[in-house]
Each structure stands twice: as structure tokens, then as C-alpha cells.
């Protein structure tokens, strides 16, 4: 506590100024200038390509600067994902910070994924679905049994994530809250959740550019709020995306994202 400690009124003014700036930035985001990722990736750009079967998981590494594309050809109801810093797995995706720092629960193209260390770990460079959920997803076997009965065994994301983590020497303690892509969860004025099924169109895809070397776990299990639909196969491609320029759409979106990248850049520079 220094002599120049701001007053509560000054803190309040700053908070609401930041909020107003973020609302403007979020409103103008779709019109912002950005690189167009190819709709269909040329084969020479693709390093890994795989189909995740319904109910299954995929895990692997993505090097900084490479992108992960998820293609939801048959409009499956959500793909859950976890991300860890490949060099220090105590650093991982933080859904709370991701929504709070960007002032929105509707994380999509132009937004970042943040770690618990205040760093940008991935950029969403494309998202033709427009909905990712970071707030709610029942991922456990017990939740599925309560919802659909215990007579049928269904694969679930929590067990998938424990399996994926195990293959990197990690355990259940490393499985934190996730992000679900292709998950149009919307709230009404009272905060009740609705699944906006109309927002799921066959062929939607998401591009995530890794901003540091990452370990990724993906679980192709339907979101709990999707109403019991069967999972469909989802395609993933890891591809050589163009390096981010200084005026990159994701890096420069808002005051907050600039600072998140400053933190990432300092870390990558060895500080």
C-alpha cells in the first residue's frame, strides 16, 4: 500500500472504463481486418489428420505457431478440450479467466484462450460455428447415468480426459475445467441455460493457433445440455498456419489481449 494508492472511486472509474472499451471492441470484432484461413486446407500444410470416433478422445502436442482445426462435418453436439503448457503442465487453460478477461462468455473468432498464468496460450483464428461453452458441461459417467439411466454405458469426457492426461504422465489432479467447442449454450435473462441446436450446422470448423507449445486433449462426447443426441465423428487437422504478424487480429483485439500476449512473449523470451 503506497502513498499513491488510488481511491475506491478511481478504481471504480477505471473498471467501468475498461468494461466500456471491451463492449466496443466486442461489438466491432466481426468487422475487424484479419487473415483468412483457407476454407479447405491444402494437403501440404497438414501435418496430422485424424478422425475422432464418437465418444473417443485424442491427445497430442501442438507446437507454437501451428494450428489445430476441428471440423464438425456432421454437426456433433460439442467437443470438449483441455490445454496444458507442454513444458510446465501446472499451467493450463483457465476458463474463468478466459471469459472474465474478455468480458464475454461467448468465446469465438478473434478471442484468446488464457492460462492461469495470465498468458495467451491459443488464439481462435476462425470459428464458423460461433459458440464455445466455458461455463457448463457435465462430463462424468455419473451425470450421464442420472440423466439417461444406468443400463447403458456411455463414454464420458471426464474419463476421457483422465485417459488422455495419463498418456503424458499426468493424472486426475491435472484435469481442470474445460472448453467445449460447437456448444451453443445460451442463457435467458434469469440465467437459465438453453441449447441453441439451430446454431449447429454441418461442416462448421474452428481454428486454434497455439501461442506456446501445448499438450491438447479432445473429447468427442456430446455436451450434457445437448439433450441426449449421439456423438458423430469429428475430424482434426494440425496444420502449418502463417506466423502471427505484429498487427495480428488476435494479438491486437483489445487492451487486455495485448497484455496477455506481452506476458506470453516475456515467458517465451525466457523471463
Amino acid at each position: 500500500m503506497g502513498q499513491n494508492e488510488p481511491t475506491p472511486e478511481e478504481y471504480r472509474a477505471r473498471y467501468f472504463a475498461l468494461k466500456a472499451q471491451a463492449q466496443l471492441a466486442n461489438a466491432s470484432r466481426p468487422a475487424a481486418k484479419r487473415l483468412e484461413n483457407p476454407t479447405v486446407l491444402p494437403p501440404e500444410l497438414i501435418g496430422v489428420e485424424e478422425i475422432i470416433p464418437p465418444g473417443w478422445y485424442w491427445t497430442g502436442r501442438i507446437a507454437r505457431g501451428q494450428s489445430l482445426r476441428l471440423i464438425n462435418a456432421e454437426a456433433s453436439a460439442g467437443v470438449a478440450a483441455l490445454f496444458w503448457n507442454a513444458h510446465d503442465t501446472s499451467e493450463r487453460l483457465n476458463p474463468g479467466d478466459t471469459v472474465k478477461v474478455q468480458w464475454t462468455a461467448r468465446i469465438s473468432r478473434g478471442h484468446l484462450l488464457l492460462s492461469d498464468m495470465g498468458r495467451a496460450i491459443a488464439s481462435i483464428t476462425e470459428d464458423t460455428c460461433g459458440y464455445a461453452d466455458l461455463i457448463a458441461n457435465g462430463t462424468t459417467r455419473k451425470a450421464l447415468e442420472r440423466k439417461y439411466g444406468a443400463d447403458v454405458y456411455r463414454r464420458n469426457s471426464h474419463d476421457n480426459f483422465i485417459l488422455a492426461a495419463a498418456k503424458h504422465g499426468l493424472s486426475e489432479r491435472d484435469v481442470g475445467p474445460c472448453i467445449s467447442f460447437f456448444a451453443p449454450v445460451v442463457t435467458d435473462e434469469a440465467g437459465n441455460f438453453f441449447w441453441n441446436a439451430d446454431a449447429l450446422k454441418p461442416g462448421a470448423y474452428v481454428d486454434l493457433r497455439a501461442e506456446m507449445d501445448l499438450i491438447v486433449a479432445l473429447s468427442n462426447c456430446p455436451h450434457l445440455l445437448s439433450g441426449g443426441v449421439e456423438a458423430k465423428p469429428v475430424r482434426l487437422q494440425i496444420w502449418n498456419s502463417p506466423p502471427a504478424q505484429l498487427d495480428d487480429f488476435n494479438r491486437t483485439a483489445t487492451e487486455e489481449t495485448v497484455r496477455a500476449f506481452e506476458n506470453t512473449d516475456a515467458y517465451l523470451a525466457g523471463y
Binding site: 473498471y15 501446472s90 461455463i135 457435465g138 462430463t139 440465467g191 437459465n192 497484455r259
Partner: protein
């Protein structure tokens, strides 16, 4: 929101302790015991996590809790669900209304992103959680999205999400009944960069009762 009061007598509590502004706290709550968190002065966010005492890798899951409830806020009747899908605790009284469990806890690092690099050296909830959990052989990797009692974070139909002034008044409380033996870790939030504490962190009171024998 579902407001409700409690008839429990503070004189019969087995534990009654004030937690200073900005401080961490943790305690074992046995199955059937009831925890009351009192916002002694009003407008004070209380960041709260639960871990199974028997198997700490089982812990509170905000996402599972909200998905099963089907709505975004914690209030009377909310069943707090673990990452294994089990019922850990139930909110049985709430005099103030919708509590957040989406926005997580503040940290020195997230503060730099949200409020500027000059805020790096301000005490933060995740610092409190690391210290509180160290006493239970856990570390940063064990921190997950928490409940923010008395913190108001509306999630609007357009997706917008922001912390607004807390609605809790002096003396408001929540009560939580443990449905398994749990370690409860609390950070009495020190944040002054947003409205969650009315820009003025204050003490809270924590009481525990044995359940009906």
C-alpha cells in the same frame, strides 16, 4: 434466485471464527455438518473451493454443477457436484441471492491482463488458495474454478459477462451442508480493481454446526 433463512442458533455452533479481510482460510467440514459464511459488512466476495477429504483429487466442479442445475447461479437448493459427478454439498440457506461460479478467482497474473501490469503485486485469491491448499498437501495444479459467494456476475443472453456491484448486505449469509467429508478452502477476496468487494475488502465470519444427530 431462491432466498431462504436459517433457524440455526450461533450459540450452538461448534466453530465460530472471524476471517480478516484479504486472508485465506481452510477447514475440514464433516459429512452432515453445516457451514455458514457471513458477509459481516456486506459486498464482500468469498472465493470458495471444496475437496473430498478422503480423496482430494475429487473436488468441486463448477461446470458439472451448472450443467446439472441447468442455470448459471448458485443459490438455495444448488447441489454442489464434484468432478467425479458426486454430490459434495448442498446450499441450504441464502439470504442474498445469485452467487457466481463462472468467473473463477483473481490472481496476480490475471490482474496484469485485466487491469494493467502495475497490478502484479497486489494480493489475490489464487495466492490465498495456494497457501491454504499447501496445508493439505496440494498445490496450484489442484486449483479449479471456484464459487464466488456474494459476487454478482450476470451472464447475459448476448453472452456478455461482467462483475457488477455485489448485492449482499451487512449480515447476509449462505449455509452449505456437507454431503461428504470435505476440505473447504476460502479466500476472503482482496480484489480492489473491480466492484466485487465494493472496492473495500472486509472481514467475514464463519460458523460450523454439527448436523442433527
Amino acid at each position: 434466485m431462491t432466498l431462504s433463512t436459517s433457524t440455526l442458533d450461533p450459540a450452538k455452533a461448534v466453530y465460530d471464527q472471524s476471517v480478516p479481510a484479504r486472508a485465506p482460510w481452510s477447514h475440514l467440514i464433516k459429512k452432515g455438518q453445516i457451514l455458514r459464511i457471513v458477509d459481516a459488512k456486506g459486498q464482500q466476495a468469498v472465493d470458495t473451493l471444496f475437496y473430498s477429504a478422503e480423496k482430494p483429487e475429487e473436488r468441486y466442479s463448477a461446470q458439472d454443477t451448472l450443467a446439472e442445475q441447468g442455470s448459471a447461479y448458485v443459490t438455495t437448493g444448488t447441489r454442489l457436484i464434484s468432478n467425479a459427478g458426486n454430490l459434495m454439498a448442498t446450499v441450504i440457506a441464502d439470504t442474498s441471492g445469485d452467487h457466481d461460479t463462472s468467473a473463477g478467482a483473481c490472481s496476480c497474473e490475471a490482474n496484469t491482463v485485466r487491469f494493467g501490469h502495475q497490478t502484479k503485486y497486489m494480493h489475490a485469491c489464487r495466492e490465498n488458495f495456494v497457501v491454504a491448499l499447501a496445508g493439505h498437501a496440494m498445490s496450484k495444479r489442484d486449483i479449479v474454478s471456484n464459487i464466488n459467494f456474494f459476487m454478482n456476475v450476470p451472464v447475459l443472453p448476448n453472452g456478455e459477462l461482467a462483475i457488477v456491484d455485489g448485492m449482499s448486505k451487512l449480515g447476509d449469509y449462505v449455509e452449505i451442508r456437507a454431503e461428504m467429508d470435505v476440505i473447504c478452502a476460502i479466500s476472503n477476496c482482496p480484489q480492489v480493481n473491480n466492484p466485487c468487494n465494493g472496492f473495500n475488502p472486509t472481514p467475514i465470519q464463519i460458523l460450523i454446526w454439527d448436523g442433527p444427530a
